[in-house]
C-alpha cells in the first residue's frame, strides 16, 4: 500500500522514542521493536494502529509472570514478609499498605520495626501501626535489627498472627556491610521458622531509571527476592524498568503503590500497566 514506506520509517522511531521514555532501556526496546517488526512482516496490510496492537501484545507476553499472591506459610506458622529496598523508595509506607490490605481480609497482622538506624523510623511505623490497629514489635533506636526480627517472630507466633510484616532500613545495594546485615536478619528468622521469610519484596520507585536493574540483581543475589512493589506510580514516571527486570531477571511485580495513604496499594495488573505506558 502507499502508506507502507512511511509506516516503517517513522513509526518504529516513534515507538522507540515512546518506549525509551518509559525507562525500559535500549536493549529491551530493541528486542521489542524487532519482535514487532517480525510480526508485522507476516501481515499483508499494515498501519500504525496494528503496530501498536502488536507492541501491546509483545509487552504483555514479556511481562510473563502473573504472580500477585503473597505466599503462605505452612499451617501453624505466621507468614513472614520482608520489605527491603534502597533508601526512600517507599518501604515503610508499603508495609502499612500491606497491613491494611491483609486486615481488610480479616487477617491477624504483626509489624516489626527493623529499621533501627534512621532518625524517627520507628516513630513513623508506630503511627502506621496505630492507624491500622496493628501490633508493633520494636526495640530502642540503635538496637540490633536481627534481635528485633527474632523478637517479632516470637511475638507473632505467640499471638497466633497470620502475617508478620518486617520493615527494614533503606540501604544501597552497593553497601556490602548493609547487605550482610539484611542476610543476617533473614538467617535469624529462618532459625525460628525454617520456611521463612516466605515473601521478600523489594520496593522500586517508579521514577528509577536503569539503576533499578543492579538494585534488583544485588538484592536478589543476597536474599532471593520473591517480588517487587512498584511505588509512586501515581506520578508521571511510567515504571517501564520493570519490563526490563521481568525480561532479564524474571522477578514479578506483585503490587503497585499509587499514593501516600494506606489504601493506595493495588495488585499488579499487566494489561492495565501496559495500557498506562502509552498514555
Amino acid at each position: 500500500s502507499i502508506f507502507q514506506a512511511s509506516l516503517t520509517d517513522d513509526i518504529y522511531e516513534e515507538v522507540e522514542e515512546l518506549l525509551i521514555q518509559t525507562d525500559m532501556g535500549m536493549d529491551t526496546v530493541t528486542t521489542l521493536v524487532a519482535n514487532v517488526e517480525k510480526q508485522m512482516s507476516r501481515k499483508e496490510k499494515q498501519n500504525s494502529s496494528m503496530v501498536f496492537d502488536s507492541l501491546r501484545q509483545e509487552l504483555i507476553s514479556m511481562i510473563n509472570t502473573h504472580d500477585t499472591a503473597i505466599r503462605k506459610a505452612p499451617a501453624g506458622f505466621p507468614t513472614v514478609v520482608f520489605v527491603v529496598g534502597v533508601n526512600g523508595t517507599g518501604k515503610t509506607t508499603s508495609v502499612a499498605k500491606l497491613a491494611n490490605r491483609l486486615l481488610a481480609d480479616k487477617k491477624k497482622v504483626v509489624l516489626a520495626a527493623c529499621d533501627t538506624f534512621r532518625g524517627a523510623a520507628i516513630e513513623q511505623l508506630e503511627v502506621w501501626a496505630q492507624r491500622t490497629g496493628t501490633y508493633l514489635v520494636k526495640h530502642q533506636h540503635g538496637a540490633d535489627a536481627a534481635a528485633v526480627a527474632f523478637d517479632a517472630v516470637e511475638s507473632a507466633k505467640a499471638r497466633g498472627a497470620d502475617y508478620l510484616l518486617v520493615d527494614t532500613a533503606g540501604r544501597l545495594h552497593t553497601n556490602k556491610n548493609l547487605m550482610e546485615e539484611l542476610k543476617k536478619i533473614k538467617r535469624t528468622v529462618e532459625k525460628r521458622i525454617p520456611s521463612a521469610p516466605h515473601e521478600i519484596l523489594i520496593t522500586i520507585d517508579a521514577v528509577t531509571g536503569q539503576n533499578a536493574v543492579p538494585q534488583v540483581k544485588t538484592f536478589h543475589e543476597a536474599l532471593n527476592l520473591t517480588g517487587i512493589i512498584l511505588t509512586k506510580l501515581d506520578g508521571t514516571a511510567k515504571g517501564g524498568i520493570v519490563v526490563r527486570i521481568q525480561h532479564e531477571l524474571n522477578i514479578p511485580v506483585k503490587f503497585i503503590g499509587i499514593g501516600e495513604s494506606m489504601d493506595d496499594l493495588l495488585p499488579f495488573d499487566s494489561k492495565e500497566f501496559v495500557h498506562a505506558l502509552f498514555e
Partner: protein, 291 residues
C-alpha cells in the same frame, strides 16, 4: 566503558583521514546507547549527539591518529560544559539567609536540610531548621532527631494545620535570635498535584527565600525533566541537590536537569550521615556518566 567502546570503533584505522561515514555513525550510536543507559533524557541525548557529530566531523578528529580518544574528549568536554563547567556551591552573604528545600517524595530533603545546616555552621553561620512537613508520619520527629544530633534548633508545631502559619511563626522566632541561616524542610509532593504545588508557591511568597533548592534522587530516569520543569516554572529554583551519589547510579539525570532547565547542581549527597555532603563537581560527574 564508553571510552573502550569508542576506541574499539576506531581500532582498525591506520593513518590519517581514513575515517568513514560509518565510523562516525557507529561512534555516535555508541554515545547514544551509553547516555541512555546512564539515564540521560532521550531528547537531551538527541541534541547531545547532534552537537558531538558537528564537532566530530571537524579536522581535529579527522587528522588524529587516535580518533577514538579524540571523540571521547569531545564527549567528556561537552558533558562538563552542559553541567555548568565549574563547581557552583551555594554561598551565603547576609546576616539572615533563608533556604527552602523542595522535591518529590523520598528524594532526601529532610536529610539534606540537616547536612546543609552542618555545612554552613562550619562556615560560621548559625543555623535553624523549620519543619514544614506536617503530613508524613513522624516527619517533624525526624527533623527534630537530626537537629538534636547536630545540636541545631528545630522549629516545629504539631498543632498548627497551616504550613504558612508555621513558617511565619518560625521566622518570627528566628528574628528574635542571632540565627543567620533558616532552613525550611517541606513535604515531598508530586509536580502534578496542583494544590500542593500552590502550597509551595504560598510558602515561597511568605518566606521569600534566598535559595530554593530542588532535591533530586540521582537514580531518577527519564522522568527527571518532567518533575523539575514544573517545580522550576512555578518556583524559579536556584539550584539542585543530587542525592544518593554513593550508589552506582550513573546520574544522567544531572545532565538532563541542567541542560533542560538551566538549574545548576550545587551539592551532592554521598551517604546517610550528616557529613556525607559535598560540592557538586561537573568533571567528576562527567566521568561517571561516561562510565
Amino acid at each position: 566503558s564508553l571510552s573502550e567502546k569508542l576506541n574499539s570503533v576506531f581500532k582498525n584505522l591506520r593513518g590519517y583521514g581514513r575515517l568513514s561515514e560509518k565510523n562516525i555513525k557507529d561512534a555516535l550510536r555508541e554515545i547514544k546507547l551509553a547516555l541512555l543507559e546512564a539515564d540521560v533524557n532521550y531528547i537531551v541525548v538527541k541534541e547531545f549527539v547532534e552537537a558531538v557529530k558537528e564537532k566530530a566531523v571537524g579536522s581535529k578528529v579527522l587528522d588524529s591518529i587516535t580518533p577514538g580518544q579524540q571523540i571521547v574528549k569531545i564527549v567528556h568536554d561537552e558533558i562538563v560544559r552542559l553541567m555548568g563547567g565549574t563547581p557552583y556551591p551555594v554561598e551565603l552573604k547576609g546576616k539572615k539567609n533563608r533556604i527552602m528545600l523542595v522535591g518529590l517524595q523520598g528524594s532526601g530533603k529532610t536529610t539534606s536540610a540537616a547536612k546543609l545546616a552542618s555545612y554552613f555552621r562550619k562556615k560560621g553561620f548559625s543555623p535553624f531548621m523549620v519543619a514544614l512537613d506536617i503530613q508524613r508520619p513522624a516527619a517533624m520527629d525526624q527533623l527534630a532527631f537530626l537537629g538534636k544530633q547536630i545540636d541545631v534548633p528545630v522549629y516545629l508545631d504539631k498543632k498548627e494545620k497551616k504550613v504558612v502559619k508555621i513558617a511565619e511563626q518560625a521566622m518570627e522566632k528566628a528574628r528574635q535570635t542571632e540565627v543567620s541561616l533558616e532552613l525550611f524542610d517541606t513535604a515531598g509532593r508530586l509536580h502534578i498535584d496542583d494544590a500542593l504545588m500552590d502550597e509551595l508557591i504560598s510558602l515561597k511568597n511568605t518566606i521569600k527565600p534566598d535559595e530554593i533548592l530542588f532535591v533530586a534522587d540521582s537514580m531518577t530516569g527519564q522522568d527527571a525533566v518532567n518533575s523539575i520543569k514544573v517545580f522550576h516554572d512555578k518556583l524559579s529554583l536556584t539550584g539542585v541537590i543530587l542525592t544518593k551519589i554513593d550508589g552506582d547510579a550513573r546520574g544522567g539525570a544531572a545532565l538532563s536537569i541542567k541542560s533542560t532547565t538551566g538549574c545548576p547542581i550545587r551539592f551532592v549527597g554521598i551517604g546517610e550521615k550528616i557529613n556525607d555532603f559535598d560540592v557538586f563537581y561537573p568533571e567528576r560527574m562527567a566521568s561517571r556518566v561516561l562510565g
